[in-house]
Symmetry: C2
Subunit: 616 residues, 2 copies
Amino acid sequence: MKAFETLKNKANLLRKWSMISTTEAGSGHPTSCLSAADITATLFDKYFTYDTADPLNNYNDHFVLSKGHAAPLLYALFGVSGAYPLEELKTLRKFGSRFQGHPVPAFAYAEAATGSLGQGLSVGAGLALAAKREGLPSRTFVLTGDGELAEGQIWEATNFASHEKLDNLVAILDINRLAQSQATMFGHHIEEYVRRFEAFGFEVTAIDGHNFEEIDQALQKAVSNTNGKPTAIVAKTIKGKGISFLEDKDGWHGKALKKDDLQKALAELGNVDDQLRFDLKKPAGKLMPQSVDKQYKTAIDFEKDKTYATREVFGEVLADLVKQDKNIYVLDGDVMNSTFTEYAKKEVPERFVECYIAEQNMVSVAAGLSRLGRVPFAATFGAFFTRAADQVRMARVSEAHIKFAGSHVGVSIGEDGPSQMALEDIAMFGAWPDVVVLQPADAWSAAQLVPKMITHPGMVYMRTLRPKTNLLYSKNDTFDIGGSRVLRQSDHDELTVAATGITVFEALKAADELEKENIHIRVLDCYSIHPIDAEALKASLHATRQNMLITVEDHFAHGGMGDFAATALAGTGAEVIKMAVTAISQSGTMNELLHAAGIDAGHIAQKVREYCAVTA
Amino acid sequence: MKAFETLKNKANLLRKWSMISTTEAGSGHPTSCLSAADITATLFDKYFTYDTADPLNNYNDHFVLSKGHAAPLLYALFGVSGAYPLEELKTLRKFGSRFQGHPVPAFAYAEAATGSLGQGLSVGAGLALAAKREGLPSRTFVLTGDGELAEGQIWEATNFASHEKLDNLVAILDINRLAQSQATMFGHHIEEYVRRFEAFGFEVTAIDGHNFEEIDQALQKAVSNTNGKPTAIVAKTIKGKGISFLEDKDGWHGKALKKDDLQKALAELGNVDDQLRFDLKKPAGKLMPQSVDKQYKTAIDFEKDKTYATREVFGEVLADLVKQDKNIYVLDGDVMNSTFTEYAKKEVPERFVECYIAEQNMVSVAAGLSRLGRVPFAATFGAFFTRAADQVRMARVSEAHIKFAGSHVGVSIGEDGPSQMALEDIAMFGAWPDVVVLQPADAWSAAQLVPKMITHPGMVYMRTLRPKTNLLYSKNDTFDIGGSRVLRQSDHDELTVAATGITVFEALKAADELEKENIHIRVLDCYSIHPIDAEALKASLHATRQNMLITVEDHFAHGGMGDFAATALAGTGAEVIKMAVTAISQSGTMNELLHAAGIDAGHIAQKVREYCAVTA
């Protein structure tokens, strides 16, 4: 057919530039681009609605390249869509280019940074979910490889997508048989994928991924689908398709063609017109991400002599805020009665997203929501964010402004034991550049910091406490990202103890104990762990007799608040002594476990005494 | 039937003690135990081969409690197996008790620490895999909840188990409808699970989990299975089964009964004889974990003027070692041609385990192998261990002695960009107590450290480099965990630069550059990052003019080698200045990216000059 003749040429134009750009770069994955050229050319030419002038328009369709190593194909697709001259693709993988080895936000048309496999379908589910819930006409297309279908997150995403009835989501599976080091588990047995996706509730069509008529029919069916089921197009393809010496050959994964091989390959493609362009449809409307309303109110109040768990305060305040800003979404991993996101669910069920016990999908769905300008809060036990560490990592690369709340941190959770204790979460979230890490110790500071998680333009992680704690502050105190509070001071303080979260109370008890011995210490509440309040630390050490800081935290010793404090004080001549958890904990009462970990009031007092003795 | 009458009583004995122990503790998950009492009682009484005197005997069957919150049931099961007096269960969740909130190694009969959900089937697959490959007669039974079937790792494990034809593996799915905060995604629609497990290649039997005849037939069928398919028994159960006011009720997850409710519950159970015991079958043989052979040899040699990638050296040495010790298993995530575990595969395919792109399952399978006394090496890109952070965390709690090798670390990988760069791996592995972190910079140190990963009795992570590097050492140099090497020194050194991995070469170049300006620095290769060589650092700073350490690493600034060094020098009055990666990187050449990150020779030299100027 004539129509498919032009399409075939456009697909070959994608092939041509996928090969030219990778040869120019001297590295990359051209054969992984070639297998998907026919199907993506058809998608863009006939079914994709997109305004390249406004990549963030919520009315655009979305194309998520889950197989991120096929980045040259993505770059060629938007080049042939007219977004930039194809010639620019020759900067692929070069320092400073927007065309990096795998998609990142420098490329404005990437819906997410990909390259760690198996995450794209969840991101796509996030994009599709917002469209579904808010009545936007967009469709989301996710191109996955076959190797990445081994990642468990794929099956979290499929369960989620079918449970949420995302019939505006289309997964295109590029089953080209060969992964990086060998054939995939199932090779070209596409029936294995058909069976799995059907079992997980998808509408599945199996096609020859190089037969334009089959491709066209499958896409036509997918975009007309309104039956409540997401679509999977299982496309049997040939890795390296179109170039005889690359087709279905081992040993060509992640290899650019040498110049002379490139010439042979281009000769096989024949005369391909560089002027061909896709005929993108314009979106029917425009909705751009909105700026965040900075005037959140909360009516929450606390009674002076009562105790409150910051996790519950977090939930209550969030429920207030979610009513005031329709951009906020709240995501739960079946612990809403522990993190208290159940309060937000009660207020605004239409923006509450139950992800069940599937933290990886939860985080990547949040990344998809963030791409649309929504403000996603993702909450679970702090320990269980380790389950999604790679997804948080990639969300950070994506510049997704997710707000995380991790409850049940530290040994202070007590009887449940080590599997439920977050003791590496500060190390993890703190390692990624510019991720804010907060840990309010009382209700007032928690209440004030929740809205600041939203107004901060970036990723934020809040540690919330399981046990109830006393109030330290009052209604009119203010708390800011990067701040701290002095809770105990005198004109003759020996040294400074910086605590955070539950250990603030231990430090105060230690101060009381030492006071009786006429030893005075300054106590700081470092509720902002990253950035830490460097100025306050320096000022505090300056004002005490010894230029010494003792940090105390309910977290492992490495990578915690103590390391942030030490870094902040580097070059000042200060001594920093870290008190933290140094062994795997166990079951017990909070007090038993704080004591066993050596971070309770008694241990703090003893440590202070040691250093007073040394320098007395 | 009479037989089932006794069984029913034994099941009720499990119920009784699950409730007594949790009430005594004041917390826990009795209702999650009750739903699985009938099926586990049948398993232990009729089909379980186990010698409670030797929990580590490889001839034992294995029971993995994936739903770790049902720990009281596990404790009751082995109590009724005669392993200890039931009365001891009253110490549940108390400080110092082996009966912790979730299973940990203090309980000798736990095959793995569980409590983070969805990991048990992978652990079980590891146990079953070793039995299969080594011809051991054991069977592995894994009890999962239904909530945890939402975790993607479950589907990684099912793919793996069916691909490896583990017909000695039996997954028992306790479908009791209710998860923590609400009903599961599928409630009592057990056909949803049947369809999924069938699609993933399991032999599936659906039963009423409280009908002893159906339970018995299903287990009988499972233990006779030799058709190459793993079994899934999908058991429809009632949460709280057996106690009228708990059965199928919302709001009872994770709640112990109050004393008076317990009395009512026990009254409903009737007279249950505490003397009842399971009739465990004795294993037919005995094979205990063997101690590690400490005399590994490697014939590897390197030519003086050539360059070598430590990742390839790792692979070559591992291939040597794997021939010398039949306990070693090598696990790959479809990157064996990048991590060079392909060499080990060539030597000993029977102990090479291809896990495809499913890192979570890979790590938990390794934990299973470790439980049997095998020495599992798990290798992938360093960045992709973040995908399995929670599994590593739980493996650490399990005291699984896994040896990890992460390749492609830092910005030095170049063109592939940030998604492939491990820049938080030291923070992650370093946070967990006592995990050894190594990063050899050249071939000789890499070759010597690989066997030391085995002989070290614990978890070890080795960072390996993508680029080839020059030799720094020679054949007779020795390298130990906790060691370091001085690479440049004089009698009039200004200060010390501690580097690790690729930055060692940058530090040496900086030293050369500074030498020309008559500024002398001491350069240390901290190939052992954790533990770091505190003594050498102190000695070095003692010997230089300034009490100052500059650390340089291809890792994010927080949680890296610099923080370990600073901690090691706490209390010495030393200044520690960290040079590290502080922003998300991009594509480019290695040199461009090291420069952009501020960790190349030029930046190091400049930093040294600054501090010399300050103190001159």
